[in-house]
């Protein structure tokens, strides 16, 4: 990919406990998470993390609870200090920043959206949205226009003078997103931002985020424990387990070539037809072929299935912006839908 690396995480370790440096040696010599806890009384938070966050992409970090994903995202703006490692933001070492430099980074470069919204209960929606401006010492008249614009954009027009407790959970999180957008920071960190919402609202919010991302092209780091959500949002997917990266890359390729039983287990329950996209299974165009119809590169396989009406002999032409880019035979599509080994074992 030709995109810039916005944030680079290099050899990051985090160990919780009274003497993390001593414990670090044990980890580097191969102590496991459980071993470290039993023998040395330290908790291994993160182990040798290397992740590139590309500019303008949604990087999703997924893992179950306790996998260290929330710890990892808090390292990016140093809400948690690492035991060792490097975090580079636009090539600049975040860990070398002094107190003022760090504060400037948090104010101008990174904004954050929280699982439990974390709005100020004594401020109105408008004042919450303008929080980042207020922190850098600017008054309401400076941010009001900007804040109103983004509040309207996330669908909160008319609620500006209400207090957070008067809004539903979904609307409160919209305020949280507006607060991050109003700060105009290029990077947004989203810590399980939609996990506290009920499924329908969550799906709405995901759509909203994708829509906004389509216009704004921010660099987003999104944490979730929900694979469907991860696959829906991710340009780059990082799967964490027990503080280690098990696999990272394009979500479609992880789905088609999982390299770890843990991931196989994870993906066995999902609806592959809905998640896999045409571009992941298409082949190069052959000359002189007749097609049953056109499908978009970004369509999911479910759409193609519906189009074919179940006829497996059909071949579709794949187009991007009106130009043909490949072919998709229904036989190939069916092969892609065959579940991976782990899920077969579970079914039988």
């Amino acid at each position: 990919m030709a995109k810039n690396v916005k944030i680079a995480i290099r050899n990051l370790y985090k160990i919780f406990g009274p003497e993390p440096d001593a414990a670090l040696e044990h980890v580097k010599q191969g102590a496991s998470k459980a071993g470290l806890q039993d023998e040395h009384g330290h908790v291994l938070g993160l182990k040798d993390i290397n992740v590139d966050v590309h500019e303008g992409e949604v990087t999703v970090i997924m893992g179950l609870s306790g996998s260290g994903k929330s710890t990892l995202i808090r390292h990016l703006n140093r809400l948690i200090e690492p035991t060792t490692g490097e975090i580079l933001f636009d090539g600049e070492d975040v860990l070398a920043l002094g107190e003022d430099g760090l504060r400037a980074l948090r104010r101008q470069k990174m904004s954050m959206v929280f699982q439990k919204f974390a709005l100020l209960p004594h401020k109105t929606v408008l004042e919450n949205a303008g929080m980042s401006w207020e922190i850098s010492g600017q008054g309401r008249e400076a941010y009001e226009e900007e804040a109103r614009k983004w509040l309207a954009r996330v669908g909160l027009e008319g609620s500006e003078e209400q207090y957070p407790h008067q809004l539903s959970g979904g609307m409160q999180q919209r305020v949280g997103i507006a607060r991050a957008l109003v700060s105009n920071s290029p990077v947004m960190l989203m810590d399980e931002a939609f996990s506290a919402l009920d499924p329908l609202i969550r799906s709405d919010m995901q759509d909203l985020l994708l829509e906004l991302q389509g216009e704004l092209h921010k660099t987003i780091v999104f944490i979730t424990h929900d694979l469907d959500e991860a696959l829906k949002l991710a340009d780059h997917l990082v799967i964490l387990k027990d503080g280690e990266v098990v696999q990272q890359g394009d979500p479609q390729s992880i789905l088609l070539q999982p390299n770890d039983p843990y991931i196989v287990d994870f993906i066995s329950d999902i609806n592959r037809a809905r998640v896999l996209r045409v571009r992941s299974v298409m082949e190069p165009v052959k000359d002189g072929e007749s097609f049953a119809g056109d499908v978009l590169e970004t369509d999911n396989l479910e759409t193609v299935l519906a189009k074919s009406g179940g006829d497996v002999s059909q071949v579709f032409r794949v187009v991007r912006n009106g130009q043909p880019v490949g072919r998709l035979a229904m036989t190939e599509l069916t092969k892609a839908l065959v579940p991976t080994a782990g899920s077969e074992a579970r079914v039988s």
């Binding site: 809400l79 760090l102 400037a104 948090r106 954050m112 709005l119 004594h122 957070p164 407790h165």
Partner: protein
């Protein structure tokens, strides 16, 4: 011969014990024992005395008696008293000015100004006409039975003391919330202030300051009433949602901004609950402080006890209850307003 003679002989301290045979004055118990002529007969194990200071003193004259302890404490206090009051006197002088000034203003402003101003304040903090009517009725009643002056004195003292409690207590509470060591070391002091019978700390104050000065009772009230506001400020700030604090950090707030824009506003319901308690406790103390010349309804209560004037005692007691209800309702009403503005 006394019970513990053997102890001193085995320790080889006989000589040291014999040094001052002319021991201090006899205690009453000694005197009684002597006059009955039953000095030191052999005792059964049943009567074995605890090896207390007095029992040991019987065997060894050089060993101090327990009354020397209290005496020594008193002596020690009297010795540092002069230098202590040299420091404390000017330091606490402003308190006397505040109290005297507040009393002067309350008593020398005509009632037809004081009462409306008070009602206006009640309305401002509570926004409730019902409460205003209740306060007007209560004060009217007190004034009608000619207790207006006493009630105003009591109120004047409470206003000054509660205000100073908040002024000192909130910063102390904030400091405690930010520093675990300070919290650990302050809590025992707060516990002591709260549980020490109020009469007890009047005693050293009487030694330190002249009884004619109003700061004497001012200090007593503040020491007693400051505890809840300190405790609840500390608690309130510690209870502020961790996620909100994290958000404040993530958006780059300075510690100062965090304190004033997040922690104090979110702790305000708890702080206000502390203020309410502080006001109620200063009302309780202002009555006791009438023993050390605090003016107000307490003086009447004291008169009721001293002269067995049942009527005066009862009516002034009920007057205090009325003031307590007023103060409680007004502070609770403003607390409710703070709460409703920021429930989560």
């Amino acid at each position: 011969m006394a019970t513990y003679d053997w102890l001193f002989s085995t320790l080889g301290l006989k000589e040291w014990c014999g040094q001052n045979k002319d021991s201090g004055p006899l205690s009453m118990a000694d005197l009684l024992a002597k006059s009955k002529g039953q000095d030191a007969e052999p005792q059964s194990l049943w009567d074995l005395p605890f090896p207390s200071m007095d029992a040991l003193n019987e065997s060894c004259d050089a060993f101090p008696q327990s009354r020397d302890l209290t005496k020594g404490l008193e002596q020690g206090f009297l010795e540092v008293k002069d230098s202590l009051s040299l420091v404390l006197d000017p330091l606490t002088q402003p308190l006397s000015w505040f109290l005297d000034g507040s009393l002067y203003v309350m008593l020398n402003t005509p009632w037809w100004i004081v009462i409306p101003v008070m009602l206006a304040v009640v309305f401002l903090v509570s926004k409730s006409w019902k409460l205003v009517a209740f306060v007007a009725f209560s004060i009217g009643l007190l004034a009608f039975i000619d207790y207006y002056e006493y009630a105003m004195q009591t109120l004047a003292i409470i206003f000054v003391c509660a205000f100073l409690c908040v002024l000192l207590g909130v910063p102390i509470g904030i400091a405690m919330a930010r520093n675990d060591w300070l919290q650990r070391s302050t809590i025992p002091v707060l516990d002591m202030l709260q549980t020490l019978p109020p009469f007890v700390y009047l005693i050293p104050l009487i030694f330190l300051f002249s009884v004619t000065e109003s700061k004497l009772y001012g200090i007593a009230i503040i020491l007693y009433a400051i505890v809840p506001v300190v405790r609840l400020t500390d608690l309130g700030i510690r209870l502020v949602d961790k996620e909100v604090i994290e958000a404040a950090d993530a958006f780059g707030m300075t510690p100062r901004q965090k304190l004033f824009k997040v922690q104090i506003p979110l702790a305000l319901p708890n702080i206000m609950a502390g203020v309410n308690q502080t006001i109620m406790m200063s009302l309780a103390m202002v009555v006791i402080a009438s023993l050390v010349s605090a003016p107000g309804l307490g003086v009447l209560v004291l008169r009721g006890i001293r002269n067995l004037e049942l009527g005066v005692g009862l009516v002034s007691g009920l007057g205090i209850v009325l003031l307590a209800v007023i103060l409680d309702r007004v502070t609770k009403a403003s607390l409710a307003r703070v709460n409703s503005a920021q429930k989560q």
